[in-house]
């Protein structure tokens, strides 16, 4: 049972894959009806599904594919040209086939009560018979071939086993048998008519069950091997069927002669036959499997959960690696020139390389080619263009580009919307195109390629393009933007208007698009994937959409920024660029701060305002801005410092804290500290609110406190010797600055927290905490990054000075010193 189940699963996976391909091939075929290779390929797919289907006793499926095959076979022999009408029927049957396969997948049998294949079969038959009018065929079909209670038309070779002859009257049984023989003959004849069945270098017709042992599978290509095996299975099936048929015939004759003996005679052989068939099938299955495993590519199917688990473990490893690198850097500083460093360096580098490789390898196991999604679009475009009366050609490129499975699953719907949009709104009707001097047939390009850690999906059409002024006018009419906003809007921003909810550009609403929901949905979906949408358009020339999506979601590249003293990780996939500006670059429009960056006008928000972070840092000459992009929105985010780029692993904040606005989670950095990760979508919404109520230039000045006179400044003196403190005090009192004193490092640190200090004079040797450690501790805070620290000590060796610089001292004064010298140093450091 398990083996059958396994076989069934394999069959379904294979069948779905083939059908997907078939869809695409068929549409291609419509354009090049004479492409024999293509025809052969399509024929083989139908044939394979029929073969495997009958093998697994899916009669409905087999019946459908059999008729499809007949049509394709005829086309293949050049007796039939595929017209769009015929293609409609074929595509319809492919859809029915899909439906049945889906039913099989969900229910395990092919009864699929919702799918009625009879009308399709009728149409397919009509095509084979060369009748183009459907009416005619249905008419002839209407005279069913009925004998007694039996409709002979319902009986096929495939469902013959199901007939219970014991329930039939002698006349009925005769008629049925005759009908079956006729069918068999027909099939044999059509079998004979076939051209030699050639795959690769192998003529399948030469292979029989008897000479099968002579085939050397090792010399065959996988395709050839498959074909040969299939052929053998088919032959075997045919033989079985023939035997059974004979048996039935015989037994029913007996039944005529002797009604009493009928039951025993009839049942026994059938039962026997069934078991022997079962055995045959098992054997065949084994043969097939054995042969396939010797030639086919080695693959293994794995539960996605296991891959997720693996990915989590790798995440931990990446964190540990980051930590190791950080520790190595610390060690390197401290023990520079030591021999063991070299060795440590090698170990750290190799672990780091292996971890990265491992991460890439595991990521790759989760990757699928985007072709999986792209495959359905030729069909979509074909159906759409027929429905809309347009001529559209779809060109697909880069279908091998790979993406994480979870992203592949999410990307399908937005792409459908975008393609529909391009065909419906972008491409003009043929007459219009002709009038404009364009080729009648419009083109839509669907392209995928890698760009750094992102994948770019480009949807481009050569249609009518978009007019930014029209879009603006429309948006104002609908109350989406104000006149002033429109006046300040660059063309690129105007194109983004189509992603606003409630915005629809189609003059009339069609069944395809124009209800103003589609593009909004696209935006939401892409935002869910942390992706960015870019639009470019030229009126009359066409429109290009670019979707930029991160390759994976679990381990991401992030830009680390500091807002005041807090660090945040911004997903790099949403960082469009970083710029350094001065306050004069900030404009205020209608009470809102904006940044003019080249052509664009971007809303500008201070990150500290968004997260309500207390401002302790005085603004500097330059402001650092992260340009964030998500979906169709862009904003400028003022931060206080760029820290750098790092690979981070997203961790949840736990049940109690998850879902905090603007925060997607946390990551553990190399130094073991936790850094919050920005949820760009949520941050954008917060930023919008903040943008409406806070002018950046004002917010920047909040921390700016005017210091003019020396008495506005405070200097802390740290020394364990009361006498030394007194000397310093005496020297500095003349300056007029405030002085506070601490006896050791611990006390100094405590006082620093409670007082506003502008400079510190620090002795090195002190109890509890020495001057070096104090400086080191102070520099850990972003707030004190620029606080002048002046070492005042009697330690005079070069090593001491170097150590002082290392821990972050700004100046080094050796005792004894003159009062004047000390004053000058302090004045210089305070900027007095």
């Amino acid at each position: 049972m398990d083996e059958i189940q396994e076989l069934l699963e394999d069959f379904l996976v294979e069948a779905f894959e083939m059908i997907e391909e078939m869809d695409q091939d068929l549409v291609e075929l419509e354009n090049t009806p004479d492409d024999l290779d293509l025809l052969n390929k399509i024929f083989r797919v139908a044939h394979t599904i029929k073969g495997s289907g009958s093998f697994l006793n899916f009669d409905k499926l087999t019946r459908l594919t059999h008729h499809m095959e007949a049509v394709l076979d005829k086309a293949r022999k050049g007796e039939l040209t595929i017209t769009p009408d015929i293609m409609d029927v074929i595509l319809e049957s492919v859809d029915a086939m899909k439906g049945i396969l889906e039913y099989i997948r969900d229910n395990g049998d092919d009864s699929a009560p919702d799918i009625d294949i009879e009308p399709i079969v009728t149409e397919l038959d009509a095509i084979v018979k060369g009748e183009n009018t459907q009416a005619k065929t249905s008419e002839s079909e209407k005279k069913p071939n009925i004998v007694g209670n039996i409709n002979l038309d319902e009986i096929t070779l495939e469902n013959a086993d199901e007939i219970d002859f014991s329930t039939l009257s002698p006349e009925e049984a005769d008629a049925v048998l005759e009908h079956l023989v006729e069918l068999r003959n027909k099939e044999d004849m059509s079998e004979n008519e076939k051209k030699p069945n050639i795959v690769g270098n192998i003529n399948l017709d030469e292979i029989t069950l008897e000479n099968a042992d002579e085939i050397d599978f090792d010399t065959l290509t996988p395709e050839e091997a498959d074909a040969v095996l299939e052929h053998l299975v088919e032959l075997r099936n045919k033989e079985d069927l023939q035997e059974e048929h004979d048996d039935n015939k015989q037994s029913s004759k007996e039944h005529k002669e002797n009604k009493d003996s009928e039951k025993n005679e009839n049942k026994a052989p059938t039962v026997k036959k069934e078991t022997s068939m079962q055995i045959n099938k098992e054997q065949k299955k084994k043969e097939v499997k054995k042969a396939i495993s010797s030639v086919a590519e080695q693959t293994i199917r794995v539960d996605v959960k296991r891959l997720d688990q693996l990915m989590n473990l790798i995440g931990e490893l990446v964190l540990a690696k980051n930590r190791l690198i950080k520790i190595y850097n610390d060690v390197e500083e401290r023990y520079e020139g030591e021999k063991f460093l070299e060795e440590l360096n090698q170990v750290v580098s190799s672990i780091s390389i292996v971890t990265t490789d491992l991460q890439i390898a595991v990521m790759k196991t989760r990757m699928l080619p985007i072709g999986k999604v792209f495959n359905k679009f030729p069909r979509l475009v074909r159906d759409l263009s027929r429905e809309l009366g347009k001529k559209v050609k779809l060109i697909i490129e880069g279908e091998d580009t790979e993406l994480d499975k979870s992203i592949i699953e999410e990307i399908g719907d937005p792409l459908v919307h975008m393609i529909r949009n391009s065909v419906d709104h972008g491409i003009e009707p043929p007459e219009e195109r002709k009038a404009k001097g364009k080729p009648e047939e419009g083109t839509v390009w669907l392209r995928a390629y890698n760009e750094g850690n992102m994948i770019v999906i480009e949807i481009k059409d050569d249609g009518k393009g978009m007019d930014p002024e029209m879009l603006k006018k429309k948006a104002i009419e609908k109350g989406i933007i104000t006149e002033t906003e429109a006046a300040n809007m660059a063309d690129k921003e105007a194109f983004m208007l189509i992603f606003k909810p409630g915005f629809s550009t189609a003059a009339k609403v069609t069944s395809v698009s124009g209800r103003g929901v589609g593009m909004d949905v696209v935006k939401t979906n892409i935002e869910k994937l942390n992706g960015i949408i870019e639009v470019d358009s030229a009126p009359g020339k066409g429109t290009t959409f670019k979707l930029k999506i991160p390759l994976t979601l679990a381990i991401i590249q992030a830009l680390l920024v500091a807002s005041q003293e807090d660090l945040f990780a911004v997903p790099l996939s949403n960082v469009i660029e970083t710029v350094r500006i001065v306050e004069e670059d900030i404009y205020t429009i209608e009470g809102k701060s904006v940044l003019k960056l080249r052509e664009e006008v971007l809303p500008l928000v201070n990150m500290a305002d968004i997260f309500e972070i207390e401002k302790v840092l005085e603004p500097e000459k330059y402001l650092y801005v992260v340009i964030l992009g998500l979906g169709a929105t862009k904003i400028g985010l003022i931060v206080d410092r760029f820290i750098g780029q790092e690979e981070i692993v997203i961790k949840s904040l736990g049940e109690f804290l998850k879902g905090i606005p603007g925060i997607a989670g946390a990551t553990i950095r190399g130094d073991g500290r936790v850094t919050l990760i920005i949820d760009v979508g949520s941050l954008m919404r917060l930023a919008k609110e903040t943008h409406n109520k806070k002018v950046v230039t004002e917010s920047l000045n909040e921390a700016k406190k005017k210091k003019e006179k020396p008495s506005d400044y405070t200097v802390m003196l740290v020394d364990d010797s009361a006498m030394d403190r007194k000397i310093m005090r005496n020297a500095l009192q003349e300056l007029g600055v405030n002085l506070i004193e601490a006896k050791d490092g611990m006390e100094a640190l405590q006082m620093l927290k409670n007082n506003e200090v502008d400079a510190m004079l620090i002795d090195i040797e002190m109890p509890r905490m020495d001057g070096y450690t104090l400086a080191q501790e102070i520099r850990k805070y972003n707030k004190y990054r620029k606080l002048p620290l002046i070492a005042v000590t009697s330690r005079t060796t070069k090593a001491d000075r170097v150590r002082g610089v290392e821990v972050g001292m700004n100046e080094y004064i050796t005792k004894p010193y003159t009062a004047e010298y000390l004053q000058n140093v302090v004045k210089r450091n305070l900027g007095l």
Partner: protein
């Protein structure tokens, strides 16, 4: 959960059946100081007690949520019990500890000023919180009377923090 009722029931029982041994049941607690007061939690609810380590502030949270910190690769929330209980925040000194407790299957750390001791207290000596206590949030399990006459407030660990108080639902 519902243990308050159990205690009441047991106390009633012990009044009616003074000779039975349930009254001798011992509860093990860990006592600590927050602000001016001594509190205790059942020893079994404590995962571990650690010395203070650096934490990261989290925006948009009540002031008693100090932030999150890294405990051996896990990100844990850090709650200041002083602020939670309405006293001003204290400086961290050498006696300050983080108590990590499991609340609804999640590890959460609480800052306390100082550990006192492990306590063994007879169940019959635990009384329901007196009416004079403000216990609107239902965070007090009962009041323990120690043999030496000390009175200790026993906390209901599961109710110490609630998600809806930390992250407003509508946002």
């Amino acid at each position: 959960m519902g243990s308050l009722n159990e205690i009441v029931k047991q106390q009633q029982k012990s009044l009616t059946q003074p000779q039975e041994n349930v009254a001798e049941e011992i509860v093990q607690l860990v006592g600590f100081i927050v602000g001016e007061e001594e509190f205790a939690v059942p020893i079994l609810s404590i995962q571990e007690i650690i010395k203070p380590i650096e934490w990261t502030r989290v925006p948009f949270t009540p002031d008693y949520v100090l932030g999150v910190f890294n405990l051996r690769g896990n990100v844990l929330p850090l709650i200041d019990l002083r602020v939670k209980f309405g006293s001003p925040a204290n400086d961290i000194d050498e006696n300050t500890r983080f108590i990590v407790m499991k609340i609804r299957d999640e590890d959460v750390a609480f800052i306390i000023d100082r550990l006192t001791s492990a306590l063994r207290i007879k169940k019959k000596n635990i009384l329901p919180p007196p009416d004079t206590y403000s216990n609107e949030e239902d965070i007090i399990e009962g009041v323990g009377r120690m043999d030496d006459g000390r009175i200790i407030t026993i906390l209901k660990v599961d109710n110490l923090i609630k998600r809806e108080e930390i992250v407003p639902e509508n946002n």
